[in-house]
């Protein structure tokens, strides 16, 4: 690791100015749990590291049942799962933030960092997609926003242009009779990278027996986390039964293009998509029925 300059700007404008000036030689530091490791291991290099944790709007969040969640990009995971209201409104996001690393990692690691790092196996991204999150981006020429499922463009790559940074994520208010869940498959029980990850969100009708709408998202089965569009829209109007969960899993398998590596074969990953979609839908439905 070579020496670098350290900057800790106090507002978004100063940060984007620095980003524009240094271009690729600047790296943002949120919790640092990815970037510091990558700099140390020589996977990335920086002349200047820009710590964004001095920017108030980036390290905090606001939530209300009517407006939904505005989540500063560098808010650490523990703040999110420590909030009971959020747990009720966005259970899949809670599942994700609880399993990213261990306690030490969670007290630093942010959802924004997880998203910007753009790992195909990132644990929070499927949950963001399932909950229809929007990414708010600031740059030297103003602000823009994109849907979470369009943020990643390849392994380790995202939509941010030179000078841009992620400021916040917004999640729409929780709908009545809705529930969600995230599960990943790992060979061990902690400290592992998802072989496959799946998040499901459902809204039931008032009877609780049939699915009004649903969203399914997947990790570690393609170069970027995926929104399973066909499987998701198929869910509308289906009964909330085991057979539906299985069928949705089968549909979700159609869009994946996994690789074979030390974490599992392509065939195995494809199979796990079915298993995890089925299991997350089951939990999401249970939560939708009880989470009132």
């Amino acid at each position: 690791m070579k020496n670098f300059e350290y900057a800790a700007p106090a507002n978004v404008e100063s940060a984007t100015a620095l980003l524009e000036k240094y271009g690729d030689a600047a790296k943002i530091l949120a919790g640092g749990t990815d970037i510091i490791v990558q700099l140390r291991e020589g996977l990335r290099a920086a002349d200047v590291v820009i710590d964004i944790k001095n920017i108030p709007e980036i390290v905090d969040y606001q939530y209300s049942a009517d407006v939904g969640l505005q989540l500063g990009a560098a808010t650490p995971c523990y703040r999110i799962y420590g909030d009971e209201e959020l747990a009720k409104a966005y259970p899949a996001v809670l599942d994700s933030t609880r399993i990213i690393g261990g306690w030490q990692i969670q007290s630093r690691a942010s959802v924004g960092g997880n998203l910007c790092n753009a790992s195909p196996a990132a644990d929070s991204i499927p949950s963001l997609i399932a909950h229809q999150a929007t990414c708010h981006i600031a740059g030297p020429h103003g602000r823009r926003s994109v849907a979470a499922q369009d943020f990643c463009t390849g392994p380790g790559r995202n939509t941010l242009e030179q000078g841009e940074m992620l400021v916040a994520l917004t999640l729409p208010p929780s709908k009545p009779n809705s529930g969600s869940a995230y599960l990943r498959f790992i060979p061990r029980n902690e400290m592992d990278i998802a072989v496959v990850g799946a998040a499901s969100w459902v809204q039931l009708d008032d009877s609780g027996e049939s699915i009004q709408s649903g969203r399914i998202a997947l990790a570690a089965v393609a170069p970027v986390p995926l929104y399973a569009e066909e499987a998701s829209s198929w869910l509308s109007g289906q009964p909330a039964t085991a057979a539906t969960f299985v069928e949705a899993g089968e549909l979700a398998k159609n869009i994946v293009s996994p690789i074979s590596d030390m974490r599992g074969t392509a065939e195995y990953r494809q199979h796990l998509v079915g298993v995890l979609v089925k299991r997350t839908l089951k939990i999401a439905v249970e939560r939708a029925r009880t989470n009132q």
């Binding site: 690791m1 498959f185 060979p187 061990r188 592992d192 599992g264 074969t265 065939e267 298993v275």
Partner: protein, 750 residues
Amino acid sequence: MKAATSDEYKILGTRPIRHDGADKVTGKAKYGADVQFANLAHGKILRSPHAHARIKSIDTSAAEKVPGVFAVITANDFPDPQDKIADLGEGPVTLSHLGSNVMARGKVLYKGHAVAAVAATSTHVAEQALNLIQVDYEILEPVLWVLDAMAEDAPLLHENVFTDSMGEASEKPSNIEKHLHFEKGDIEQGFAEADIVIEREFKTASVHQGYIEPHVATADWNEDGQLRIWTSTQGSFTVRHQTAELVGIPLSRVTVYPCEIGGGFGGKIAVYLQPVAALLSRKSGRPVKLVMQRDEVFEGTGPTPGSFVRVKLGAKNDGTLTAGKAWIAFDAGAFPGGPIGPGCMCVFSCYDLPHATVDGYNVCNNKPKTQAYRAPGSTHVAYATENVLDEIAGELDLDPLDLRLKNAVKEGSRRVDGPVYPEIGCVEVLEAVKNSEHWNAPLEGPYRGRGLALGFWFNCGLKSSATANVNTDGTVTLIEGSTDIGGSRTSLAMQLAETLGLTAEEIHPQVADTDSVGYTDVTGGSRVTFATGLAVCKAGEDIQKQMRQQAAVLWDCDANEIEISGSTFSRNGNSISFQELAAKQLQLGEPIVGRATVAPDCSTNGFGAHIADVEVDPETGKTTVLRYTAIQDAGKAIHPSYVEGQMQGGAVQGIGWALNEEYFFGDAGDMKNASFLDYRMPTCLDVPMIETIIVEVPNPDHPFGVRGVGETPIVPPPAAITIAIHNATGVYMRELPASPPRLWKALQEA
């Protein structure tokens, strides 16, 4: 000697706080990485990106010019050992192989093989310099799988390695470095007598010892030519010897200071960094420290062999085994050497087979040079034999425990490699299984199964020294040379305390450097509590002899008239305590220093059985270990907590080996998972509390009956786990690891 019962002892069998405990929990204990000097230079090693390549040239000139670089070395800086063979305490070693592993000479033989090293003001500067070293490689085809490496047309690693087949050398060079053959009885007759014969093939992946502390060494080549080394090692004397040979100086010019050690499991016996740090220090004129990163530990240091094992067993309908045949091929890795001998000797070591043959092959391939790992070789073969035995039990509808009891070795049984067992505890261990709560507890539910497996390790004696100084305040300073990996300081202190009638706290054990204690072999082979313990007991007797003489001066009598009971010396109604006598020693005569050296030439023979309960998720192939019990004959458990700790640690390592751990190689022979993230050792959330049952069948060769305990517990787990998986799912997993993708696939195909 008669079997001692626990209540004969005051100290043995109790659980005093370890002497090094306070320093370890407060972070004061000095590990290799804590070594600091004012003018310390930091080194880094350039490693091969190729698994097999010829080094055409190395240009270090640009690296040498980097500001802050003090020295750059390659194999050319080492003396050429030519054909010299040295006995490094564990049998003869070809120095050119040892040296070429430390720094590649001519060829690189695995990805991660060291090719050059730099010392600089900081590791960052050293890294920068490494990037400027130009190595011109001619890439060669690598060979990794052991059977591929045995093929006639396999890429050849060494022009100068010929197959040693029971003493005869092959005509052509070969990757097959050694072929061993053992036989007993008449194998044809044995199988003819059988009612059932089962033969199966098993494969295991390379796995690493996985010690938490990476390799580390600091060397200071002094202006007077004296070389001092601070390092993490299982044996300071072998480091001294290996380093002296490789850098070409007499061993008396090297002093090795062993630091606290964060695990070794067999992997910290061979030198890697010490000779490199030494030559960097000589060249730079400063002390130089080298610390490996985790990927260097995985890619550059010893895994245990990957293996192929074929086992055939014959039995009568009543379960009596009639014959066994084994064909075993182990990776040697980049250079000759490895545990094929023990593998052959252990494959049938738990069972009394009248007829058996064993063939073993040790094969060079493009993996890091294999090193010892806890009961080296025994786990691989037990995995095979125990699974075949389980299948026989199933076919004959016999209880797997009864089948093992029926065939278990006892005093007088002869192993296939010749030795006849003295008093051993194999049957007693199985009886403890039979009486255990776990074995008798019901296991219900779908996809759940229980597995039982037996394991053996020799446990060796080798050489140890100890000195014990009696202090005038009545305490004793114990100086020994066994680096303490598993609490041995305390186990040794307890043996001295028992001998002298003192408390464990009244003994102050110290692990000394190579100039301060007599020659002591490595902490390995489960030998320390037994063999260094033997030296310590004798040093205690030596103290008693000297103190008896001083008491004789005090009472003006003959030393023979003085009786010793516990810590009391008495004669004719007069008595004096150890403490009082110790206080008077300088008035009564010479300072009291006990000393002893030992060289016990025996195995202490450790048997263990493990019971595993698992549950398999049929949709994902993931195995959860629900309950696990390790049962083992410890001879005499000196400090039961440390015996239990060894049993638990070995079991957990074996569970990792069974379920997830493996070197995952790409097509180019490059390890893809050289990190603790993807080399999946179990975490504390992956295993249940390992239950332990200590059996005590005293070892006749030790005054307290001690047997070694450290290695046996890694032998049964892969067998116990895979047998449990079979009972849960109906599928035998004959390839390790039985990882989720592999087990899922097997369930699909079943």
